[in-house]
Symmetry: C2
């Protein structure tokens, strides 16, 4: 296979971590697997120079020329800037990358809870439709935003969640490893207040479970649980080992994944994949960290793991597993860690340590 990967570094440390991602892909090449790369622009820097944060040319090139992509991180202005809109949110919608899959896993041996969960976040709707309006009243300004939940988007994210739960159980069975509660899917919502919108999310995910179309009754082996979002955050911190796959509407998923990242020590460890039918964009969960830009000390792990997650959704599970194992080995040894993890290694040293374990 000859695969072309779009590289969208964005701002801040985005460039540095994408270089690491590219190095890992290059190291995985073999006579039957080749990667080529297409640099593409997006972000606050792009906005400043071109007037748009996500040029059409970037989206067109992804669609026409790429098999998948890696996205770094983008800075956003601290005040409202007319015409600026988050390029990653726009990209998710324009490419219909409807699932944001965020695996969060503790380093074995490091004390603290042994977290091993995947947050499956709906990636196209909820408040992220960004349909807002403002109006004046005698008592001052009022602004409204629409939170939109559709049966279609909720069902397809539900399906991905159950499939990931089934697949994780199969991998565990093969590795003779265990999960305290898995396979389990926890639906997160706030239907006690939002009975129609979050109610529809909840019912749609349940409907996928009830009408398991795998034809093999695979979903029925999955425990199905629910948690109201506030209570979910509480339980996430009190008992994180309990969770296997957590499925949530867009905004709750955004919040929960940062919360889960806090449990494993650093946002710099948590990868994500923006997944659609036929396209995937790997993206570290951290931001653009302008304060450390150019110092060469950004943690490359989130991006390298994102390469793994991207490859998984491209049918390259074996290569993904190699990446995960190499990263786990680096972290478990704990000798070549970036400063966010308490280490002293530079980005490039972490990358080299991971490459030699590949």
């Amino acid at each position: 296979r000859n695969l072309r990967i779009g590289l969208i570094p964005g701002d801040g440390i985005g460039k540095e971590v994408l270089t690491s991602g590219r190095q890992v892909l290059e190291a995985l090449q073999s006579p039957s697997l080749k990667f080529s790369f297409l640099p593409l622009s997006a972000g606050w820097g792009t906005f400043k120079s071109t007037g748009t944060a996500l040029p059409d040319s970037t989206v067109d090139a992804l669609k026409a020329e790429c098999d998948a992509a890696l996205f770094g991180a983008v800075s956003s202005p601290s005040t409202k800037v007319p015409g600026y809109t988050s390029p990653i949110v726009a990209l998710r919608k324009k490419m219909d990358l409807y699932a944001n899959v965020r695996p969060v896993k503790s380093v074995r041996g490091v004390k603290g809870p042994q977290v091993d969960m995947v947050i499956v976040r709906e990636n196209t709707e909820d408040l992220y439709v960004k349909e807002e309006r403002s109006y004046d009243t005698p008592e001052g300004k009022v602004a409204e935003a629409i939170k939109r939940i559709s049966e279609k988007a909720s069902r397809r994210i539900g399906k991905i969640a159950f499939e990931i739960a089934v697949q994780r159980a199969q991998v565990r069975a093969a590795n003779r490893s265990e999960h305290p509660t898995g396979p389990m899917v926890t639906i997160t919502h706030k239907s006690n207040v939002l009975s129609q919108s979050d109610g529809l999310f909840r019912e749609s995910v349940r409907a996928v479970f009830d009408a398991d179309r795998t034809g093999k009754g695979l979903y029925s082996k999955v425990n199905l649980e629910e948690q109201i979002v506030d209570s979910m955050v509480y339980k996430l911190f009190r008992n994180p080992e309990h969770y296997d796959v957590v499925v949530a509407p867009n905004l709750y998923g955004d919040i929960l994944s940062d919360g889960a990242a806090a449990l494993v020590g650093s946002l710099g460890l948590v990868p994500s994949a923006n997944v659609g039918d036929g396209f995937v964009i790997g993206e570290p969960c951290h931001g653009s960290a302008p304060d450390i830009e150019g110092l060469g000390i950004a943690n490359p792990v989130a991006t390298i793991r994102s390469v793994g997650t991207m490859l998984e959704f491209m049918g390259l599970g074996e290569q993904a597993a190699r990446i995960y194992q190499a990263v786990d080995a680096n972290l478990e040894e704990g000798k070549t860690l970036s400063p966010d993890l308490g280490g002293k290694a530079k980005t490039e040293e972490v990358v080299q340590d991971i490459l030699r374990r590949l």
Copy 2:
């Protein structure tokens, strides 16, 4: 003063914990301070027997006869039940209790982070306006909810947040105690995605700060910070000692306060006050916990502290301080704790231990 307190136990352990709250108020009585009590109904049980979860008679009695109230907790049905709507959400709006003030504090001496923060949650709008609609499309059902943010509500919650920050600093000065960053107010929002609605929240709170009307420049001594909500959850768990006063729109405040509760060991410790101009309802942050109803083992601390928070907003700061100190002493000694805290004491034993320290 002769004060009449409405008691709305609700469901589950609500009755048990309100009994504890009442005992504490009774113990605080003096020749110049008398409390009388008016039992009022609301909740799922009330819905089942009367067809409404919040009878008009309850709201009317609060308005006409009470100086303040205590609310226990309510159960909500696990599926949508026509006509049922959360009585506490309705009560907050009907009484215009626009601020939900949730102090979260660690027990001194217990290992773990020394959290000492107050979450100031807007209590009347955001997605809690519950304006939802559903419609069918060729691709299935769609539901929408309105998230409404007003300048008026954002300004008044901002004002309360700054005032609490100033007042906390004064109390610390009097006690010669310190806070790592205080006085500080952290505005939480997601204006990188919701530029109009969360943008209005952010700007309105900032405007209150900029146009400090205390006439004494008190707010200018407060550090003003911002955190995007997902990042806020991350930092809340990585560095909780950093926070003093956190101000947030309704839903983020709901989520953050459960998160903060997780840091101090149990939701059973966290009080709240629903505050309006001239009325306050104390309410423990925990739920109705039907699983332990009637066992006499509910943790009364959240309710007893809520009595304190209620009294503070009634101008009875001295009595409030006595309650807080008695509770702190009970927790610091750690001998008479309810099961959620790893203890073996019954509700009544915890209450008696706190009463003897009053």
